[in-house]
């Protein structure tokens, strides 16, 4: 592990310690029932952040292969959450089996063997054509178009998009891939956290009550700007200049926002509040990595196009 990475991890741990202390103070001072509930949820979230930081930092410290395995597991859990809420029919069964146990592992193995060309097209070309073809073999035509779209969209969001985060490890930009990945994850996740904090502190105007009742304009602007500020300050983790880092952070934040928004819209469509239950205070894996699904591919391609030799 490089010195820079270590510094960042120490910084994150310091931040979490501060958050835990604030949470503790709030817990003693909260009296109103709704305030108590909010603080309890806040402290659950902080507790979960500790676990997530330890798992992510640990995987990164152990090397590329472990990091790839971690993201493969995240994809697996996210895909499972997607299909637990999304209705499927008997005719989709084989397609689902292939999504979980063939397409997902192959996508991550392609990362591990550094085969970029195949990594980029395996799901959108081969899987997207093969899965509907397999579905025709059952002869079930009811809702065929909608069903094929669900199988494809599930893979797109939870496997293809997510796999672009660990794909940063194979880019040759002059800085270690682990730093780029850390940078992306920090900016994306801090953007969520800042939006939550700003929204709770000064949020007044709902952004879109239909899709995401807790998102406010104030949270969005304050959170977005704060995350961009952090992204700019952390430019040393990347091959970018400070100005480039600001612009790219803005892209990450915007994409991340829409990722969360699109996944919330799908949740509302399916009549659910959370994707799952596995991360205390947050919901499911997909609730936590929703912003990453949109931010990772954009960040990956921007970096690959302009900053690799």
């Amino acid at each position: 592990m490089s010195v820079t990475l270590l510094t960042v991890l120490v910084g994150v741990v310091a931040l979490l310690t501060a958050a835990s202390l604030v949470g503790y103070v709030l817990e003693i001072s909260a009296t109103k029932p709704e305030a108590v509930a909010t603080v309890r949820n806040l402290n659950q979230r902080i507790g979960s952040w500790w676990v997530m930081v330890i798992v992510f930092g640990g995987a990164l410290a152990l090397g590329h292969a472990t990091t790839i395995v971690l993201f493969a597991l995240l994809s697996f859990m996210a895909l499972r959450e997607f299909w637990t809420l999304t209705p499927s029919r008997r005719g989709d069964h084989r397609g689902l089996f292939l999504s979980f146990f063939v397409v997902l592992p192959i996508q991550y193995v392609l990362l591990d063997v550094d085969w970029y060309g195949m990594f980029a097209i395996f799901i959108p070309v081969y899987a997207f054509l093969m899965l509907p073809a397999v579905a025709t073999l059952t002869g079930e035509t009811a809702d065929f178009l909608a069903r094929s779209a669900k199988v494809q969209w599930g893979l797109m969001l939870t496997v293809y998009a997510v796999s672009h985060a660990p794909a940063l490890l194979m880019l040759d930009t002059g800085v270690p891939g682990a730093l780029l990945l850390t940078y992306l994850v920090i900016v994306v996740q801090l953007s969520d956290v800042f939006q939550y904090v700003w929204g709770k502190l000064i949020g007044r105007h709902r952004f879109s009550p239909n899709i995401s009742p807790s998102k406010t304009v104030e949270g969005l602007v304050g959170g977005g700007l704060s995350a961009i500020a952090v992204g700019t300050l952390l430019y040393r983790l990347t091959p970018f200049s400070p100005l480039q880092a600001a612009a790219i952070s803005a892209v990450i934040v915007t994409a991340g926002f829409f990722g969360g928004f699109v996944l919330s819209a799908i949740k509302r469509d399916l009549g659910a509040k959370d994707w799952g239950y596995i991360i205390e205070g947050h919901g499911g894996v997909l609730d936590r990595i929703d912003s990453l699904t949109f931010a990772a591919p954009l960040f990956f391609h921007i970096t690959r196009y302009w900053f690799t030799s």
């Binding site: 697996f76 499972r80 299909w83 637990t84 499927s88 008997r90 069964h93 084989r94 689902l96 089996f97």
Partner: protein
């Protein structure tokens, strides 16, 4: 010792694979004598409900499994009898045999049982009419609580006619216990018991 370990591993494996969450809607987990009755969507059902039960309850609960499936190979028989503590029964009992006898014996010993009163796995989304075994047991053991269980998503995990397990999260929902009302006939009771499972299917709390 080894069996206990394998049993433990199986539960962990099932929980990783399909989640096997439990939602106690109408009652709390208890070690008292109970007859759990559930809808039947796949051969995975038995394993999933057992994995969803907390350990102190699980060790006192014996699922009922079909001999023609679970007794068909040594591995299946090992999983059923050793790991799940299942009682294998014939789905098409011979005339004059007493298929319920092993279950009666377990209840007399103070154990709980898990049965699938539909008798066979449903092919569509409907819950099939219940067979009468549950009514006979309920009359014979009036003080035993009958707990309805609805297994969500299991049909999608391993549908009839497929060998492929898809790791969708399953939930076992436990409803409010019922018992045979005074003077209630077989048909009326079976209907009411089935309704209790249907209500849980909608996610709601069963009316008591």
């Amino acid at each position: 010792m080894t069996t206990a370990l394998v049993r433990r591993l199986l539960v962990v494996l099932v929980r990783i694979l399909v989640g096997a969450r439990s939602e106690w809607r109408g009652c709390e987990p208890a070690t008292s004598r109970r007859i759990y009755f559930a809808n039947h969507g796949s051969h995975f059902d038995t394993i999933a409900v057992m994995a969803a039960l907390p350990w102190p309850v699980r060790r006192l609960t014996h699922p009922v499994a079909a001999r023609d499936y679970w007794g068909a190979s040594r591995l299946r028989r090992f999983i059923a009898e050793q790991c799940l503590r299942a009682v294998l029964i014939d789905r098409q009992p011979k005339p004059n045999s007493q298929p319920l006898a092993p279950l009666e014996r377990l209840l007399e010993e103070g154990k709980s049982i898990l049965i699938f009163p539909e008798g066979t796995r449903a092919t569509d989304d409907e819950i099939a009419p219940f067979r009468s075994g549950i009514f006979r047991l309920a009359c014979q053991f009036p003080d035993v609580e009958l707990v309805p269980v609805y297994l969500d998503n299991l049909k999608r995990v391993l549908p009839k006619g497929s060998m492929l397990v898809v790791p969708i999260t399953c939930t076992a929902r436990f409803g409010a216990p019922l018992s045979v009302a005074p003077g209630e006939g077989k048909g009326a009771f079976l209907e009411r018991a089935r309704d209790a499972v249907v209500v849980l299917a909608g996610g709601g709390v069963a009316r008591t």
